[in-house]
Protein backbone atom coordinates (compact mmCIF):
# COMPACT_ATOMS: atom_id res chain seq x y z
CA UNK A 1 0.00 0.00 0.00
CA UNK A 2 1.38 3.42 -0.97
CA UNK A 3 0.25 6.12 1.41
CA UNK A 4 0.93 9.81 0.92
CA UNK A 5 0.75 11.73 4.19
CA UNK A 6 0.51 15.53 4.01
CA UNK A 7 1.47 17.55 7.08
CA UNK A 8 4.45 16.69 9.26
CA UNK A 9 3.12 17.85 12.62
CA UNK A 10 2.68 15.42 15.49
CA UNK A 11 -0.16 13.53 13.81
CA UNK A 12 1.59 13.27 10.44
CA UNK A 13 4.88 12.28 12.01
CA UNK A 14 3.53 9.46 14.15
CA UNK A 15 1.21 8.28 11.40
CA UNK A 16 4.15 8.06 8.99
CA UNK A 17 6.31 6.31 11.55
CA UNK A 18 3.66 3.69 12.32
CA UNK A 19 2.96 3.08 8.64
CA UNK A 20 6.64 2.64 7.84
CA UNK A 21 7.02 0.22 10.75
CA UNK A 22 4.14 -1.87 9.48
CA UNK A 23 5.84 -2.15 6.11
CA UNK A 24 3.91 0.29 3.94
CA UNK A 25 5.41 2.56 1.35
CA UNK A 26 5.00 6.09 2.68
CA UNK A 27 5.86 9.58 1.50
CA UNK A 28 5.39 12.52 3.84
CA UNK A 29 4.98 16.09 2.62
CA UNK A 30 5.96 18.90 4.97
CA UNK A 31 6.39 22.45 3.73
CA UNK A 32 8.52 23.70 6.61
CA UNK A 33 12.07 22.89 5.55
CA UNK A 34 13.53 22.71 9.04
CA UNK A 35 10.78 20.38 10.22
CA UNK A 36 11.14 18.30 7.05
CA UNK A 37 14.90 17.95 7.60
CA UNK A 38 14.34 16.89 11.18
CA UNK A 39 11.93 14.15 10.10
CA UNK A 40 14.39 12.97 7.42
CA UNK A 41 16.99 12.54 10.18
CA UNK A 42 14.62 10.39 12.15
CA UNK A 43 12.70 8.43 9.54
CA UNK A 44 14.95 8.50 6.47
CA UNK A 45 14.50 10.14 3.10
CA UNK A 46 10.78 9.71 2.67
CA UNK A 47 9.99 13.39 3.03
CA UNK A 48 9.10 15.82 0.24
CA UNK A 49 9.86 19.28 1.68
CA UNK A 50 7.08 21.11 -0.15
CA UNK A 51 3.53 22.34 0.27
CA UNK A 52 1.10 19.51 -0.42
CA UNK A 53 -1.61 22.01 -1.32
CA UNK A 54 0.31 22.99 -4.40
CA UNK A 55 -0.77 20.84 -7.32
CA UNK A 56 2.68 20.64 -8.82
CA UNK A 57 4.29 19.24 -5.67
CA UNK A 58 1.43 16.94 -4.90
CA UNK A 59 2.03 15.44 -8.34
CA UNK A 60 5.78 15.21 -7.79
CA UNK A 61 5.25 13.38 -4.52
CA UNK A 62 3.56 10.59 -6.50
CA UNK A 63 -0.07 11.27 -5.70
CA UNK A 64 -1.18 9.83 -9.04
CA UNK A 65 -0.14 6.36 -7.92
CA UNK A 66 -1.05 6.69 -4.24
CA UNK A 67 -3.63 4.28 -2.82
CA UNK A 68 -4.41 6.63 0.03
CA UNK A 69 -3.79 10.31 0.67
CA UNK A 70 -4.07 11.39 4.31
CA UNK A 71 -4.28 15.16 4.85
CA UNK A 72 -3.47 15.76 8.50
CA UNK A 73 -2.28 19.36 8.69
CA UNK A 74 -3.68 21.63 11.39
CA UNK A 75 -5.83 23.62 8.97
CA UNK A 76 -9.19 22.38 7.78
CA UNK A 77 -9.12 24.32 4.54
CA UNK A 78 -5.72 22.90 3.61
CA UNK A 79 -6.86 19.36 4.34
CA UNK A 80 -9.97 19.83 2.24
CA UNK A 81 -8.02 21.13 -0.73
CA UNK A 82 -5.38 18.38 -0.50
CA UNK A 83 -8.08 15.70 -0.49
CA UNK A 84 -10.04 17.26 -3.33
CA UNK A 85 -6.94 17.68 -5.47
CA UNK A 86 -5.95 14.10 -4.74
CA UNK A 87 -9.40 12.73 -5.45
CA UNK A 88 -10.46 14.71 -8.48
CA UNK A 89 -7.20 15.69 -10.08
CA UNK A 90 -5.01 12.70 -9.35
CA UNK A 91 -7.70 10.02 -9.07
CA UNK A 92 -6.58 8.76 -5.68
CA UNK A 93 -8.98 6.00 -4.58
CA UNK A 94 -9.16 6.96 -0.92
CA UNK A 95 -8.71 10.28 0.84
CA UNK A 96 -8.61 10.94 4.56
CA UNK A 97 -8.86 14.40 6.15
CA UNK A 98 -8.30 15.62 9.66
CA UNK A 99 -11.06 18.06 10.58
CA UNK A 100 -10.93 20.44 13.53
CA UNK A 101 -14.25 22.25 13.23
CA UNK A 102 -16.95 19.58 13.66
CA UNK A 103 -19.26 21.71 11.53
CA UNK A 104 -17.02 20.99 8.54
CA UNK A 105 -17.42 17.20 8.70
CA UNK A 106 -20.58 17.19 6.69
CA UNK A 107 -19.26 19.52 4.05
CA UNK A 108 -16.04 17.56 3.64
CA UNK A 109 -17.88 14.31 3.17
CA UNK A 110 -20.19 15.91 0.68
CA UNK A 111 -17.25 17.34 -1.25
CA UNK A 112 -15.58 14.01 -1.79
CA UNK A 113 -13.42 13.32 1.26
CA UNK A 114 -13.75 9.60 1.97
CA UNK A 115 -12.82 9.47 5.64
CA UNK A 116 -12.95 12.13 8.31
CA UNK A 117 -10.85 12.13 11.44
CA UNK A 118 -12.16 14.60 13.94
CA UNK A 119 -10.15 15.03 17.15
CA UNK A 120 -12.70 17.55 18.39
CA UNK A 121 -15.58 15.14 17.86
CA UNK A 122 -13.67 12.31 19.52
CA UNK A 123 -12.86 14.36 22.61
CA UNK A 124 -16.44 15.59 22.70
CA UNK A 125 -17.68 12.02 22.45
CA UNK A 126 -15.64 10.80 25.37
CA UNK A 127 -16.57 13.78 27.50
CA UNK A 128 -20.24 13.18 26.77
CA UNK A 129 -19.84 9.51 27.71
CA UNK A 130 -18.65 10.52 31.16
CA UNK A 131 -21.53 12.84 31.87
CA UNK A 132 -24.80 11.15 32.84
CA UNK A 133 -26.91 13.39 30.68
CA UNK A 134 -30.46 12.91 29.55
CA UNK A 135 -29.28 13.13 26.01
CA UNK A 136 -28.66 11.07 22.95
CA UNK A 137 -25.02 10.32 22.37
CA UNK A 138 -23.58 10.55 18.87
CA UNK A 139 -21.27 7.64 18.34
CA UNK A 140 -20.41 8.06 14.69
CA UNK A 141 -21.48 9.97 11.63
CA UNK A 142 -21.81 7.96 8.43
CA UNK A 143 -22.46 8.82 4.80
CA UNK A 144 -25.80 10.21 3.66
CA UNK A 145 -26.47 12.09 6.86
CA UNK A 146 -26.79 8.83 8.81
CA UNK A 147 -25.67 8.64 12.38
CA UNK A 148 -25.15 5.96 14.97
CA UNK A 149 -26.74 7.12 18.19
CA UNK A 150 -26.77 5.74 21.69
CA UNK A 151 -29.49 6.33 24.25
CA UNK A 152 -28.93 5.34 27.85
CA UNK A 153 -32.24 4.55 29.46
CA UNK A 154 -32.75 6.23 32.81
CA UNK A 155 -35.42 5.14 35.30
CA UNK A 156 -37.79 7.79 33.99
CA UNK A 157 -37.40 6.80 30.35
CA UNK A 158 -40.74 6.05 28.70
CA UNK A 159 -39.12 3.04 27.01
CA UNK A 160 -38.38 1.13 30.24
CA UNK A 161 -40.52 -2.00 30.49
CA UNK A 162 -41.44 -1.86 26.83
CA UNK A 163 -40.38 -3.84 23.78
CA UNK A 164 -39.25 -2.16 20.56
CA UNK A 165 -42.63 -2.90 19.01
CA UNK A 166 -44.31 -0.73 21.68
CA UNK A 167 -42.26 2.26 20.60
CA UNK A 168 -42.94 4.69 17.80
CA UNK A 169 -39.76 4.66 15.82
CA UNK A 170 -39.39 6.79 12.68
CA UNK A 171 -39.40 4.64 9.53
CA UNK A 172 -35.94 5.80 8.41
CA UNK A 173 -34.45 4.80 11.71
CA UNK A 174 -33.69 1.43 13.25
CA UNK A 175 -32.82 0.30 16.74
CA UNK A 176 -30.41 -2.53 16.27
CA UNK A 177 -28.64 -3.39 19.48
CA UNK A 178 -28.81 -3.09 23.21
CA UNK A 179 -25.87 -3.00 25.60
CA UNK A 180 -26.78 -4.42 29.00
CA UNK A 181 -24.17 -5.03 31.71
CA UNK A 182 -21.42 -4.53 29.16
CA UNK A 183 -22.80 -7.17 26.80
CA UNK A 184 -24.08 -6.14 23.38
CA UNK A 185 -26.94 -8.15 21.91
CA UNK A 186 -29.11 -7.59 18.86
CA UNK A 187 -32.36 -5.90 19.77
CA UNK A 188 -35.23 -8.31 19.09
CA UNK A 189 -38.92 -7.53 18.81
CA UNK A 190 -39.53 -9.13 22.22
CA UNK A 191 -36.59 -7.61 24.13
CA UNK A 192 -37.97 -5.85 27.19
CA UNK A 193 -35.96 -2.70 27.80
CA UNK A 194 -34.64 -1.98 31.27
CA UNK A 195 -33.21 0.93 33.16
CA UNK A 196 -29.50 1.28 32.39
CA UNK A 197 -29.78 -0.28 28.94
CA UNK A 198 -27.90 1.46 26.19
CA UNK A 199 -29.93 1.33 23.02
CA UNK A 200 -27.97 1.73 19.81
CA UNK A 201 -29.80 3.19 16.85
CA UNK A 202 -28.94 4.16 13.33
CA UNK A 203 -30.84 6.80 11.42
CA UNK A 204 -30.93 10.20 9.78
CA UNK A 205 -30.18 13.12 12.04
CA UNK A 206 -33.72 14.46 11.64
CA UNK A 207 -35.13 11.40 13.43
CA UNK A 208 -33.43 12.54 16.56
CA UNK A 209 -36.27 14.44 18.09
CA UNK A 210 -38.65 11.49 17.97
CA UNK A 211 -35.97 9.11 19.18
CA UNK A 212 -35.27 11.44 22.06
CA UNK A 213 -38.94 11.51 22.93
CA UNK A 214 -39.28 7.74 22.83
CA UNK A 215 -36.08 6.72 24.56
CA UNK A 216 -35.10 9.59 26.83
CA UNK A 217 -38.38 11.36 27.43
CA UNK A 218 -40.06 14.59 26.42
CA UNK A 219 -38.27 17.87 26.98
CA UNK A 220 -35.11 18.78 25.18
CA UNK A 221 -32.43 19.32 27.78
CA UNK A 222 -31.90 17.76 31.16
CA UNK A 223 -35.18 17.31 32.88
CA UNK A 224 -35.46 18.34 36.48
CA UNK A 225 -34.21 15.32 38.36
CA UNK A 226 -36.80 14.01 40.75
Amino acid sequence: MFVLVVGGGKVGYYLTKELVESGHEVVLMEKDRARAAQIVDELGSIVVPHDGCEGKYLGQAGSNRADIVAAVTGDDEDNLVICQMAKHHFDVPKTIARVNNPKNEDLFRHLGVDEIISPTRMALGSIEQDIPVHELLHLAALDNDLEIIEAKLQADSPAVGKTPTDLVIPPECSLFAVVRDGVATPLRADTVLQEGDKVIAIGKSDCERLLHEQLIGVGEDSQAAS
Binding site: G55, N64, E77, L80
Partner: protein
Protein backbone atom coordinates in the same frame (compact mmCIF):
# COMPACT_ATOMS: atom_id res chain seq x y z
CA UNK B 1 -27.96 42.28 -6.73
CA UNK B 2 -26.59 40.91 -3.47
CA UNK B 3 -22.86 40.40 -3.40
CA UNK B 4 -20.65 38.86 -0.70
CA UNK B 5 -16.92 39.54 -0.70
CA UNK B 6 -14.60 37.61 1.59
CA UNK B 7 -11.25 39.31 2.08
CA UNK B 8 -11.07 43.08 2.15
CA UNK B 9 -7.67 43.45 0.53
CA UNK B 10 -6.99 45.80 -2.37
CA UNK B 11 -9.02 43.78 -4.84
CA UNK B 12 -11.81 43.00 -2.39
CA UNK B 13 -12.14 46.61 -1.28
CA UNK B 14 -12.05 47.97 -4.83
CA UNK B 15 -14.77 45.57 -5.94
CA UNK B 16 -16.85 46.26 -2.85
CA UNK B 17 -16.80 49.98 -3.59
CA UNK B 18 -17.48 49.53 -7.28
CA UNK B 19 -20.54 47.36 -6.65
CA UNK B 20 -21.69 49.52 -3.77
CA UNK B 21 -21.60 52.70 -5.82
CA UNK B 22 -23.43 50.82 -8.56
CA UNK B 23 -26.37 50.48 -6.19
CA UNK B 24 -25.91 46.84 -5.18
CA UNK B 25 -26.22 45.26 -1.75
CA UNK B 26 -22.65 44.49 -0.65
CA UNK B 27 -21.42 42.51 2.35
CA UNK B 28 -17.65 42.44 2.99
CA UNK B 29 -16.14 39.96 5.42
CA UNK B 30 -12.59 39.96 6.78
CA UNK B 31 -10.90 38.51 9.85
CA UNK B 32 -9.32 41.88 10.59
CA UNK B 33 -11.28 45.07 11.16
CA UNK B 34 -8.21 47.05 10.08
CA UNK B 35 -8.74 45.74 6.57
CA UNK B 36 -11.94 47.76 6.44
CA UNK B 37 -9.83 50.94 6.57
CA UNK B 38 -9.38 50.36 2.85
CA UNK B 39 -13.04 51.17 2.29
CA UNK B 40 -13.83 54.82 1.74
CA UNK B 41 -16.23 56.81 3.88
CA UNK B 42 -18.84 56.62 1.15
CA UNK B 43 -19.16 52.83 1.38
CA UNK B 44 -22.73 52.07 2.40
CA UNK B 45 -22.53 48.28 2.47
CA UNK B 46 -21.90 46.04 5.45
CA UNK B 47 -18.42 45.25 6.78
CA UNK B 48 -18.39 42.23 9.05
CA UNK B 49 -15.48 40.79 10.96
CA UNK B 50 -15.24 37.02 10.88
CA UNK B 51 -13.84 33.89 9.28
CA UNK B 52 -15.29 33.60 5.78
CA UNK B 53 -14.85 29.82 5.69
CA UNK B 54 -17.13 29.38 8.70
CA UNK B 55 -20.67 28.55 7.68
CA UNK B 56 -22.11 30.12 10.86
CA UNK B 57 -20.29 33.40 10.27
CA UNK B 58 -21.46 33.55 6.66
CA UNK B 59 -25.05 32.74 7.53
CA UNK B 60 -25.11 35.38 10.25
CA UNK B 61 -23.65 37.92 7.85
CA UNK B 62 -26.59 37.27 5.55
CA UNK B 63 -24.68 35.55 2.76
CA UNK B 64 -27.40 33.02 2.10
CA UNK B 65 -28.90 33.28 -1.36
CA UNK B 66 -26.47 35.97 -2.52
CA UNK B 67 -26.27 36.43 -6.28
CA UNK B 68 -22.49 36.35 -6.24
CA UNK B 69 -19.90 35.25 -3.70
CA UNK B 70 -16.29 36.31 -4.23
CA UNK B 71 -13.55 34.73 -2.11
CA UNK B 72 -10.51 36.99 -2.42
CA UNK B 73 -8.36 36.45 0.68
CA UNK B 74 -4.62 35.85 0.55
CA UNK B 75 -5.05 32.12 1.10
CA UNK B 76 -5.87 29.95 -1.90
CA UNK B 77 -7.33 27.23 0.26
CA UNK B 78 -9.37 29.58 2.38
CA UNK B 79 -10.87 30.95 -0.82
CA UNK B 80 -11.61 27.51 -2.17
CA UNK B 81 -13.28 26.42 1.02
CA UNK B 82 -15.28 29.61 1.44
CA UNK B 83 -16.56 29.36 -2.13
CA UNK B 84 -17.54 25.73 -1.64
CA UNK B 85 -19.36 26.46 1.62
CA UNK B 86 -21.23 29.21 -0.23
CA UNK B 87 -22.18 26.93 -3.11
CA UNK B 88 -23.09 23.86 -1.10
CA UNK B 89 -24.62 25.32 2.03
CA UNK B 90 -25.75 28.83 1.23
CA UNK B 91 -27.19 28.44 -2.25
CA UNK B 92 -25.42 31.41 -3.78
CA UNK B 93 -25.84 32.08 -7.49
CA UNK B 94 -22.21 32.29 -8.52
CA UNK B 95 -19.10 31.58 -6.47
CA UNK B 96 -15.64 32.68 -7.46
CA UNK B 97 -12.35 31.93 -5.70
CA UNK B 98 -9.02 33.63 -6.21
CA UNK B 99 -6.48 30.82 -6.57
CA UNK B 100 -2.89 31.71 -7.30
CA UNK B 101 -1.75 28.15 -7.98
CA UNK B 102 -2.60 27.52 -11.67
CA UNK B 103 -2.99 23.76 -11.20
CA UNK B 104 -5.43 24.20 -8.36
CA UNK B 105 -7.29 26.92 -10.26
CA UNK B 106 -7.87 24.62 -13.22
CA UNK B 107 -8.84 21.70 -10.99
CA UNK B 108 -11.46 23.68 -9.10
CA UNK B 109 -13.11 24.93 -12.24
CA UNK B 110 -13.87 21.25 -12.86
CA UNK B 111 -15.51 21.10 -9.46
CA UNK B 112 -17.92 23.87 -10.30
CA UNK B 113 -16.16 26.95 -8.95
CA UNK B 114 -15.09 29.90 -11.04
CA UNK B 115 -11.47 30.75 -10.38
CA UNK B 116 -9.21 33.74 -10.96
CA UNK B 117 -5.50 33.07 -11.09
CA UNK B 118 -3.22 36.03 -10.53
CA UNK B 119 -0.16 34.00 -11.46
CA UNK B 120 -1.23 33.33 -15.04
CA UNK B 121 -2.79 36.78 -15.28
CA UNK B 122 0.45 38.57 -14.41
CA UNK B 123 2.65 36.17 -16.33
CA UNK B 124 0.69 36.72 -19.49
CA UNK B 125 0.47 40.47 -18.99
CA UNK B 126 4.23 40.71 -18.64
CA UNK B 127 4.94 38.33 -21.52
CA UNK B 128 2.59 40.41 -23.62
CA UNK B 129 4.33 43.63 -22.68
CA UNK B 130 7.65 42.11 -23.71
CA UNK B 131 6.07 40.93 -26.97
CA UNK B 132 6.45 37.26 -26.04
CA UNK B 133 3.98 34.47 -26.64
CA UNK B 134 1.52 34.15 -23.71
CA UNK B 135 1.28 30.89 -21.72
CA UNK B 136 -2.16 30.28 -23.15
CA UNK B 137 -3.52 29.34 -19.75
CA UNK B 138 -6.76 31.14 -18.94
CA UNK B 139 -6.55 33.41 -15.92
CA UNK B 140 -10.28 33.49 -15.28
CA UNK B 141 -11.87 30.10 -15.60
CA UNK B 142 -15.59 29.59 -15.65
CA UNK B 143 -16.76 26.46 -13.86
CA UNK B 144 -17.40 23.37 -15.92
CA UNK B 145 -21.15 22.67 -15.77
CA UNK B 146 -21.94 19.78 -13.49
CA UNK B 147 -22.60 16.61 -15.45
CA UNK B 148 -23.68 14.34 -12.62
CA UNK B 149 -22.12 14.47 -9.26
CA UNK B 150 -18.79 14.09 -7.51
CA UNK B 151 -17.20 10.88 -8.61
CA UNK B 152 -18.38 10.96 -12.18
CA UNK B 153 -15.47 13.29 -12.71
CA UNK B 154 -13.10 10.34 -12.46
CA UNK B 155 -11.19 9.42 -15.60
CA UNK B 156 -7.84 10.45 -16.85
CA UNK B 157 -7.48 14.16 -16.45
CA UNK B 158 -4.10 14.04 -14.79
CA UNK B 159 -2.73 17.42 -15.74
CA UNK B 160 -5.00 18.65 -18.49
CA UNK B 161 -6.24 22.11 -17.65
CA UNK B 162 -9.72 22.56 -19.05
CA UNK B 163 -9.38 24.58 -22.20
CA UNK B 164 -12.46 26.61 -21.71
CA UNK B 165 -12.61 30.01 -23.21
CA UNK B 166 -11.48 32.45 -20.58
CA UNK B 167 -14.83 33.99 -19.87
CA UNK B 168 -14.28 37.27 -18.06
CA UNK B 169 -16.47 37.55 -14.99
CA UNK B 170 -17.71 41.07 -14.34
CA UNK B 171 -14.62 42.72 -15.72
CA UNK B 172 -11.43 40.89 -14.80
CA UNK B 173 -10.13 42.46 -11.58
CA UNK B 174 -6.60 43.76 -11.28
CA UNK B 175 -4.17 41.93 -9.06
Amino acid sequence: MKLVIVGCGRVGAALAEAFDSGGNEVIVIDTSTRAFDRLSGEFKGEAIRGDGTDEDVLRKAGAEGADAFLALTEGDNRNVMAAQVAMEKLAVGKALAKINDPVRAAAYAELGIATVCRTTMLTDAILGYLAQRPTGMPSVIAPVPHVHDDDDLGGGHATAAPRLGAQPVAGAPEA
